[in-house]
């Protein structure tokens, strides 16, 4: 966060009488208003949008404390204290199921999805032919820009019962391989979809960090007879460690958020037991089921916990001597 540099000296620094100081403060404000009014006007549309669609909904979270009825509205509904939160604190089975699924998926993805772009970036970084490297990158970035609907449709076409893989297996008399619509394999399915969609794109930030590594370090390491693996361990990885920590913090802060659209699209065949996560719980229970207050309460707690997680992980990073998301 950049701090504002003061353009002109503060009025308080003048050794003037209180009355004179007041006028000079006012005069200075007027001068700044005159200087910056166009900037402020330019900011207005954006600020209005943020207030309307971010800060106003933030206040709308009061319905988490209400027995919200759509026909009564926010102002007409009764306040019920914390009773909506009892779902969370008394451990409603449906809620607990969603929470457990969310945490399992997060854990699987931090373990298996997070390291992949780092490895891929390291491999890409060893490509010496500039053209081939760019072409490879262009291809690998592309899936990131496809919507989840498209990705899910592609996976169905490739791996579904009538999909390409199974038709081929059948024609070769090898039986079939079912992954779509099987509750036990649902987490594996969505994890592989995340890998396919975002591994390539996630390399971009690691590649940027790798391109900034001082080549002289490698030269020095080579002179000290460090082989490729030692160079990787002692030069490359330390150089990209801040970026790895940063992204890990952001991922951990998002622990309670896992592929909402992706899961919503594929919930039908596998059922809630295997696929319900917190976000889909809020949607299915609130928008579809009409339990507005309870869903808002779950959403609110999820948001608050998310903030705590980001700030906590960031503090941990600072304690370990890393820069984190923001510097102190």
């Amino acid at each position: 966060m950049s701090s504002g540099t003061k353009v002109r000296p503060r009025a308080g620094a003048d050794p003037g009488a209180p009355a004179a100081r007041e006028t000079s403060v006012r005069g200075q404000l007027a001068a700044r208003w005159h200087r910056d009014r166009v900037l402020l006007v330019l900011a207005v549309p954006g600020v209005i949008v943020l207030v309307l669609f971010h800060y106003l909904p933030l206040l709308g979270n009061v319905i988490a404390f209400q027995d919200y009825q759509p026909f009564l509205g926010i102002s007409g509904s009764d306040f019920v204290g914390l009773s909506n939160f009892s779902v969370i604190f008394n451990g409603d089975p449906e809620f607990l199921n969603a929470l457990v699924n969310t945490l399992i998926i997060t854990m699987v993805q931090v373990l298996f999805v997070f390291p992949l772009p780092i490895a891929l970036a390291l491999v890409l970084n060893t490509m010496l032919n500039e053209r081939a490297k760019r072409l490879t990158q262009s291809i690998l970035y592309l899936p990131h820009f496809l919507s989840w609907v498209i990705v899910v449709a592609l996976f169905q076409q490739m791996f579904g019962n009538g999909g390409m893989l199974n038709e081929w297996l059948r024609s070769a008399d090898l039986g079939t391989f079912q992954i779509i619509g099987v509750p036990e394999l649902f987490k594996l399915l969505i994890t592989s979809q995340v890998i396919w969609k975002d591994t390539g794109w996630s390399t971009i930030i690691f590649l940027a960090a790798l391109s900034k590594v001082d080549l002289n370090l490698y030269e020095a390491a080579a002179i000290d007879r460090a082989g490729p693996l030692r160079q990787l361990w002692h030069v490359t990885l330390p150089a990209i460690r801040p970026v790895i920590v940063l992204l890990l913090i952001l991922r951990l802060g998002d622990s309670l958020t896992v592929g909402f659209e992706q899961i919503l699209l594929q919930q039908g065949p596998v059922g809630a037991q295997a696929s319900e996560v917190l976000d889909t719980y809020v949607y299915n229970n609130g928008i579809i089921g009409g339990n507005w207050g309870v869903s808002a309460a779950v959403g609110l707690v999820k948001g608050v916990v998310g903030v705590v997680l980001v700030l906590g992980a960031n503090r941990l990073a600072h304690a370990m001597g890393e820069r984190g998301v923001y510097s102190k």
Partner: protein, 316 residues
Amino acid sequence: MTGLLETTAERRARRNRHPASDERPAWMGRQPRWATAARGGLLTVACLAVIVPFVAVVMTSLAPQRDISARGGLVLFTSEPSLAAYRAVLSGGVVTRALSVSVAVTAVGTVLSLACTIMLAYALSRPGSLLHKPILLMTLFTLLFNPGMIPMYLIVKQLGLIDNLAALILPVVVNAFNVIVMRSFFLELPGELTESAKIDGAGELRILTSIVLPLSKAVVAVVGLFYAVAYWNAFFSALLYLPSPEKWPLQLVLRTFVVNQTPLGTDELSASTESLPPQASIQMAILVMSVIPILIIYPFIQKHFSKGLLIGAVKG
């Protein structure tokens, strides 16, 4: 800003250092052959994993029923491609309508988003200006805390935007991350340029339009792409805010007829032909059409994915 991974100057410097070799620095020893082969194999497999589904989908959309029946599902090659599926889908009906909704939302949304984002980012690019800090903090805070789906829905409802296409645009018209990306780009521009323009009597608007924006084409292109892709791909907001199917964008139609496998008949296609193209071809044609716009603009923007743009943003 031209290079994807390194600046032109950096690349030139590296070339000059090792002019003769295949860009392999003298100190970088030859790697064992199997290691090179393993890496090449890995990258090839990764690229094929992206390309093969596309080829299969495009080919199936062009294939006649005979090929599809023979292969059971997707085909990787067809000897007699035909555009019948596209003609059926584009001759009016559900898909055509959804396509026009998607194009309109994407076009209007991207223009509005870019305008608001450029203005806000420019307003925030003068540290020390009046209210600079509160507005910046207010923007950054939206990245930290998400208001949640239920209150968001209620606000959109309260504003009377349910079943209105504006609900796909207005709630997401300003994305704080994009504002920060653009702001950090503006901050990197040499201050002397704006200073001298000011001395020449140019106002802020003039500086923005004639100096800052022409220098910021790369960031405008990338942020524009991010917005356009987000509008084009929007699926959940349409599901949430648009109860009437006749207003659905392409992604929702894609979900109904491809993901959920609802068959498309003459009602949905308003095609009078008794001999409809194969169902699989029609489905894949919808899929292809939902991908094509991204494939078209992608190469133009892709060269701008440079390091400074995204890394600079992370610093906040």
